[in-house]
Amino acid sequence: MAGDEMARKELVRRHSGVVRLTHWVNVVAMLVLLMSGLQIFNAHPALYWGHASTFADPWLSVRKVEIGDQPRGITAIGSLTLDTTGLLGWSGPEGRREQRAFPSWSTIPSWRDLAIGRRWHFFFAWVFVANLALYWAWSLAGGHLRRDLLPTRAQLRPDHLAHEIAAHARLRFAKGDAARTYNVIQKLAYLSVVAVLLPLMVATGLSMSPGFNATVPGLVDLFGGRQSARTIHFLAASGLVLFVAVHLALVVLSGPWNGVRSMITGRYAIVREGDRS
């Protein structure tokens, strides 16, 4: 095509060193926290609201149930029960299936060991918190938050939002100078992660600590009690898993090499179509 001949590739600096470093540290920390967290969840695969557990009446539970002579994995959410055999409750290779809420490929370690899961979880929680603190200190002091993440007034106008949503739905990604900065959907998604979900993980995690409860009793009460905090910890983690799934899909669809390179070297290729200047 004629346009392609005139297109010029230009490498621009997209991500700062701190963003790239904290991004990859966060990838490792969050993956370990998720998988060791599922190991911890497996020790008591039920969730409740309030201060204490109501064992007969969890709002979510994953169990193994014998139906006839068949063991089945049953996941119950409220009054809804789902047969999740093979994935949740009863999983593993045929003939060597075992009772476990989340399957062995999703937990650290792969076998059932709460003590090891907790050791990994709390070590990487420190890594995660230090990393998040570095990111926030730099974002506030270095201007990353104001410059790159906060949407402009114009971006928040309903017609612009609608236009961006429609463009995303058709998988049309920004080109040229528009690709130098985050679009409004990116900004809102990243903000909801770094400003809401990640701090919420820390706060709900601390709220499950009986030691920390004595330090700041108000925090666990803010979430409605320790079992509520555990529930919100699980839900916020689920939200992060959902974010990562969409994030990875969009990286692949928008050109994985360019995206991954920009998060490693900081350089991002922009294609200028018909640029004669």
């Binding site: 792969s110 030691g211 920390f212």
Partner: protein
């Protein structure tokens, strides 16, 4: 995206995934790596002690909030002969031994424990597995008992020796339950040896005749069936040396999180 590239991407993803899983499992059994992970326990304890007043109380609840389904864990009915004999006579011959690094070793009857300065508290019990139950506990303040025995200055930990064998298959003699706390927790106002639960005599499955309550830590620290309180300078040489039945099996000694 071409089919080739898609196939390449999924193959790379699968390879990366299985390498990650195998790597994690290998690290989980590597003693150097698990040794590194263990420093987190020191950081957590240090940070919590730094920001928490040593007498800061665990939250107390109202009687209306008491769980009607308070779960019992660990040993539910010890089969150890000495304990079975004690239950048979309703703990008439029971003596709480307080010894080790103390000036005045004691052997107290249950009546004497009940006559000691006491505290009643409605608190939340948090199991390491993740569940919580709320119960009311009445017991003798451990600080008062230790003061009566007069701790020697070199005492650093209080070891709770229990009546129950939780791991009958342990070949090294470390199958009996025990726990330990440091003096900060031993002298905390809510740290008691409870003899009553929810207004009634402590039931066997919850640790009769005496169980430790150390409210700012997880459930496994709350040793049941306490027979002997020993003041020591070091936890070495007790059990497998990690300060408790579960700490000997990989769990944190400091269970504030």
């Amino acid at each position: 995206m071409t089919l080739d590239r898609r196939r390449w991407l999924s193959a790379a993803g699968a390879a990366l995934g299985s390498a990650w899983l195998a790597g994690c499992d290998r690290l989980a059994t590597n003693s150097t790596f698990t040794g590194v992970l263990r420093v987190a326990e020191r950081w957590t304890k240090g940070a919590q002690r730094l920001v928490t007043d040593r007498n800061a109380l665990a939250r107390e609840f109202s009687r209306a909030e008491i769980s009607r389904d308070f779960r019992a864990n660990g040993t539910l009915r010890p089969q150890d002969p000495e304990y079975v004999a004690l239950v048979a006579e309703n703990f008439a011959g029971y003596r709480l031994v307080i010894d080790g690094l103390v000036e005045q070793p004691l052997a107290l009857t249950l009546a004497e424990v009940r006559a000691a300065p006491a505290r009643t508290q409605v608190t939340r019990h948090d199991c390491v597995e993740g569940w919580s139950s709320i119960g009311e506990w009445t017991g003798a303040r451990l600080s008062a008992l230790l003061d009566r025995a007069r701790l020697k200055p070199e005492a650093r930990y209080i070891v709770l020796h229990c009546a129950d064998t939780l791991d009958p298959y342990a070949t090294d003699g470390a199958g009996r339950y025990y726990e330990s706390i440091d003096l900060v927790d031993a002298y905390h106002p809510q740290t008691i040896l409870a003899y009553a639960m929810n207004g009634a005599t402590l039931p066997v499955r919850h640790g009769a005749p005496l169980r430790l309550r150390v409210e700012r830590q997880l459930g496994y620290k709350h040793a049941k069936y306490v027979m002997r309180v020993e003041a020591v300078a070091s936890l070495e040489g007790i059990g497998r040396g990690q300060g408790g039945f579960w700490p000997d099996r990989g769990y944190e000694w400091y269970a504030g999180i």
